[in-house]
Every structure is written in C-alpha cells, then in structure tokens.
Symmetry: C2
Subunit: 390 residues, 2 copies
C-alpha cells in the first residue's frame, strides 16, 4: 500500500425528504445571507427550489439567487456568481442541483474570498486558502461532487475544461434525497451510472500495482452495486430503493476512500472526455461510455500493458462474472454490453459525435495532457483513441 | 436503504515512518501543552515513545506523560488522566498506543472539559459537548478507534465495561504507521484480526434487511481483505505490505462507512464479550472469537432467524468461497476454521475461561442488555450462549 493522507469532512444526510432540511442546515451553520445556486430550471419546475426558498424565508435567512448553471458549467457564469456573492455579502453558498451546480458552487465559494481571478485555481496552480461554507442539495446521482473538494469548469474562450480540488471546497453538508431523482429522464440516470462507474474504473485500471487488495475489493463492491442499480432501475426507474443505492454508491465512488493508498491514479479518459464535451457539449457520462472501449483497446497496445490487462481481466471476473482466464476482449465486451443494457452510448458514433470534431478534441486533450505531464497523450495518440472509439 | 447521517472528520496519515510526524501534527494543531497518553511500556521499550517525546522537545512543545493504560482500560486511570490534564493545562491529548490507549485518551479529552464526572458519558447518557483535540499514533491494528468517536472503558467497582461515542472525540489526526506493528507478538495480531472481523460481522449478521447491497458489498470486501491479511501474516508476520493492508482494513471496518444506511445494528457479541473481559481480563479479540460460533448457534434458534441465516450463508459464500446453498453449518465451520488458522481461540475453553465465571459474566451482560433495551439477552440466554461457546 502506498503512503496516503485521507480526510473527508463532509457531513452526509441521506434519506427520503431530507432535502427539506436545507434551510435548517444553513441556519445551523450560522448563515446570514445565502447565495443560492441552481441550474437550468428543472429544480424550479419540480417545486424543489420554491420549497428551499420558502424554507429560507421561514427561518428569516435572506438569499440571493444565481440560477442558470448549465451542464458542462462555464467560467463566465461562475464569475457572475462570485460578483453576486460579493455584492450581497453572502456568507454561505447553497447549491441545489446536480454535479455541475455543485462544481460551480465550489468555484464561487472559493473565488468569492480570493484576491485574484477564480480561473487561477484551475490553471496556474493557485492554492485555495479559504472558501465560503458550502451546502449541497443533490438532485442527481453521478459526479460524487457532493463529497469531495473537486470542481470542473470550462473556460469558454479557450474551451479548456479543467479542475481544481481543495479541502476548503468540500461541502460542509450534503443532503442526499433519493426522492428527488425519481422523475429524472432516463438519459440522465444512464449518464450518471456511466460517470460513477468511470470514477472507479480509471483508477482501477490505471493503478500500476496489482495490490493493494483492500482498495480493489472496495472498488469491485461499488462496481457490482452500480451494475445492480442499473439493472434494477432500467427495469423500474421508480424503484426508490435502487435510486438510494445508486445515489450513495455514486458518492462513495469518488470520495477518496477507494483510492486512498492505491497510489497515483491518472484520469486520462476523463481528460479526453472533457475535451469532447468542451467541443460538442455532450453529457459527460455519455462521453465517457462512448470512448471507454476505444481507449482500452488503444491502451492495451501501449508499453507496460501487463498490469492494465491484469486489472481489466479481473474486472471481467469480479464485476461481470466472467470465468477465470476470460481474456481482455471478453472483459471489454462485457463492459460494452452493460453500457448498452443501461442505454448509454458505447461509441462516439452512437453518441452523435462527428468525426469532423476529432482534430479539435485531440488538440484540446493533448494540450491538457501536456499541462498535466501525461506525455503519452499526444494529438496523434488521442486521434487514434477517437478513431478506435468511433 | 435506511436514512442516515454520516460524518467522519478524522484525518488519516498512513505510511511507513509517518509516526515521526507526531510532534509536527501537534504543532500544526496549535498545541501549547500536550498530555501524552500511553500504555504498559511496549511503546517505551520499542523506542517509539522516546522518539515522540524527543520530537515534542525539539519543537519546544511542553508535555506531561500519563503512562500505564492497560488492555481493557479502566475508569480510575482515565480519571487520573483528567486530573493531570487539568493540572498541567493540557490543550491537546496525544495517544501513543493501541485501541485501549486511544479509547482512554478520548475519555480524558472529553472528561477534561466536562463539569461532571467522566463516567456520566458512559452511563446516564450525558452528551459530550466538547473535548480537547486528540491526535493518535496507532501501534496496533484492531479496534478502529483511530477513526471513530467511540470509547470503551471498564468501571472497576461495578465491572461495567461500556462505551460512549461522540463526534467531538474523533481523533483530529491519526498516524497509521504499519512499521510499528512489525514486532508485535503473534497473539496480538491474531486478536486484532478477530476484533476487526467482528466489527463487520455483527452488523452484517444482525441487519434485518437482506439489502442494501452497497453495504453488504463493502463489508464483504473488507472481510476478504482481513482473511487474506490473516493468511499472509501467518505465513510471514514481517510482511509489511500485509501489515499495512490489515491496518487500513481494520480502520475502515469501524469508521461508520460500511454501516451507513444499513439500519440499526446492535452489537450483542461485543456486549457479552465486554462482560467476559471485565471478569477475566481476557483480550477483547480473543473473547470475541471464543464466543462467536456459540452465539451464532444460539441465535439461529431464536425467533426471526431467517434473515440471520440468509446473511450467515452469504458470508460462507462470499467470504469463505463456499458453494451456493452451503448451509449455515458450513458457514460457521468456515469461520471457526479461519479463527484456528489465524490462531485465535474458537471456544471459551481454548481461551481459558473457566465455567465458574459464567454466572458473573451472564449477570453483567444481562445488566448491560437491560440498559441498552436488548431484552432477549437475559441471564438465562447469556448462560446458554456461554455453554454453547464452551
């Protein structure tokens, strides 16, 4: 096991109806003015946002709304949120939405207290030294942002989609109410399953060691849980029990626990996907499932593929119940079959990404790879991956 | 999945040599006077305690020593620690030892700031409202105390061994240095494996629901990791990799993660074992393995045993690789076989507990059961369990 530091101070409150506690949690944290961040309108249409606002009014907590966070959230909207937070003197940020809303809220929470532009956290490595306290009401199981300090945002002019992470931007409290996910369009559920699965799969496959066994076991347990949730939810999207299992599994998939001690885990598939969704605005989860098989086939041809193949075959056995010595091809096929079963695209063609976008995607991904020191991901290499994923 | 709140603010630093950071962590937390709590001398003999003290001196942090915490720690020694903490004006408690030392340190940390006797936290339900910050240097993988808020202490005059738990008594930082466990007597390693296994096994078997699957999967992964560690360490007690896997697995086994959402989980085997070690001073882990099979046989004869039997059989399949429909007897036999393989007693006879102690053990356990509302555990019932475990 590698040396590690693990700390995750976020308090999770999970259960049907727990979203009604949003205002009470803000009060508990001493909020005097809340910046209330939300998305493109679904939380308004469902009545959730009205209920949250009503709760704040009932407790006499003033708030300023900042609506309109879009999927693949953008820097411009974050900057507007920071300006609003300063103008209204917000001392707490309340995010009501999915991962994009929570990610934006983190950037606003840190940016509001910074004496430089917020993008310096994303590029240039400015450390987050403080942030407004953040509370999240999660409406979508997918990104895990509700229990980590990471934020992914796209800068519009350069189409650079990248991230920062800090202990200061962990939500203080996240309210996980599976009721809120019952009415989701199936596509968002499928994308969420793909995203959560990918958060486990990249470090699972990219860890150079075949041990430590603890971390492999935990990841495999969460993989099986997600596969199980996908089957149950596909059969009945109103299965509240499965909604809850999925929500908590997605949180655990990226809260640091399964990776602690497993060594450095690069996220190249996320890196390439960020370029795809920056160019095409494809949903992140759909972009991940669309390129996974192609990336795996490319990766198997690269140097030092033995450990990678070992973990891939183990995935087939432990998660998709394939026999021992199933081989890597069978494991990839089982993964693709699960994507198809869930209903998330398994190729870029299925995702509707035209080949004409490939050069720009490759340019952006390779630029990011250079910034992160992942030299294997040249433009030529990314083009190969995209072709294999087509 | 049941509703739950999960929060675990402890920062874990894991790695070979990380215990050398003890003084630096105290400094980071702003300590001006440290109460340094340790056990019966092993940390002194190994040189660890000298190194920690030297580190504190080098950073100019005054400290007062409180040595002599014994296995199955006692209230009297805790009260002495509280008096010392007040006398020296300690503003941080540093625990160097195993679970007993960390548990004692928690009671001292809370008791030092209380305006009533510390035992009121254990009996009578006085809530912990604040505590001195606590740092732990763990020398033994077993109890999980390094990443939770629980403290188990025995009151000498009534032989009542019971616990409290609070968010305020989570260690702020726990240093997990597997190097420190390399020289342990085998017996302590075996007892630690038994203890960690039991922390998972009670809620695994006692959860009324056959779902949620997430929590079963996580527990099963940790079970397999512990079984694997037992086999590797028995073959080579100096296997540092296995020492590390075991240390982190034991921490994860009782940090709240695997139980969150699984519903209320009583700990009757721990309750009976606490009575055994209160009477006989048997090591906790040895007491647990000694009564497990007997308790399981008793429990199978009680009302509503179907879910219990379901989970027991699932344990056999998922952890001990038994075939489907293996039956409950085979599962118990596999558990006993693992205890024998590890070298921890599988019966009370093997543990050297004389039948003459049974009435007093039954009296104490039933008294605790009444206090905790576990009415099935009458004196007669506990006597039956002890006889079956003999």
């Amino acid at each position: 096991m590698n040396a590690f530091t693990f700390v995750n101070p976020t308090r999770i409150e999970f259960g049907s109806g727990v979203s009604r506690r949003a205002a009470a949690v803000c009060q508990e944290l001493g909020a005097r003015h809340v910046l209330l961040i939300s998305g493109m309108g679904s939380a308004r249409r469902s009545g959730l946002l009205d209920a949250v606002e009503e709760g704040l009014r009932a407790l006499g907590i003033p708030f300023t709304a900042h609506e309109g966070v879009r999927p693949n959230p953008v820097l411009g909207h974050v900057r507007e949120g920071i300006a609003k937070a300063r103008d209204c003197g917000a001392d707490l940020v309340l995010a009501v939405g999915g991962g994009s809303v929570v990610d934006s809220a983190k950037a606003v929470a840190a940016g509001a207290l910074a004496d430089h532009d917020v993008w310096d956290f994303f590029e240039g490595g400015a450390p987050v030294r403080k942030a407004l306290p953040l509370v999240a009401v999660l409406t979508l199981a997918a990104t895990g942002s509700e229990m980590n300090g990471g934020s992914v945002v796209t800068r519009e002019d350069t189409r650079n989609k990248t991230f920062f992470s800090s202990l200061h931007t962990h939500p203080r409290v996240s309210l996980l109410d599976p009721d809120l996910t019952l009415g989701l369009p199936w596509e968002q559920t499928a994308n969420g399953l793909s995203d959560a699965f990918a958060h486990l799969l990249e470090p699972y496959l990219n860890t150079p060691l075949r041990r430590p066994i603890v971390q492999l076991e935990l990841k495999e347990g969460l993989f099986r849980s997600l596969v199980d949730c996908g089957v149950r939810l596909k059969a009945n999207p109103q299965d509240l029990e499965a909604r809850g299992d999925f929500m908590w599994s997605a949180t655990l998939a990226l809260n640091g626990m399964t990776s602690a001690g497993a060594g450095p885990a690069p996220y190249p598939v996320h890196m390439v996907e960020h370029a795809i969704s920056a160019v095409t605005d494809l949903a992140h989860g759909a972009g991940l499932s669309a390129i996974y098989a192609g990336w795996i086939r490319w990766r198997l041809e690269q140097p030092q593929a033995e450990d990678f193949a070992f973990h891939l075959e183990r995935l087939g056995q432990k998660v998709f119940a394939l026999p021992e010595s199933c081989g890597v091809d069978a494991a990839v096929e089982a993964l693709v079959a699960w994507y198809r079963q869930v209903g998330t695209p398994a190729t870029l063609r299925e995702a509707g990404v035209a080949e004409s976008h490939f050069p720009e995607i490759a340019f952006l991904a390779a630029r990011q790879a250079r910034a992160w020191g992942m030299g294997a991901y040249t433009e030529v290499a990314v083009m190969e991956i995209l072709e294999l994923a087509h």
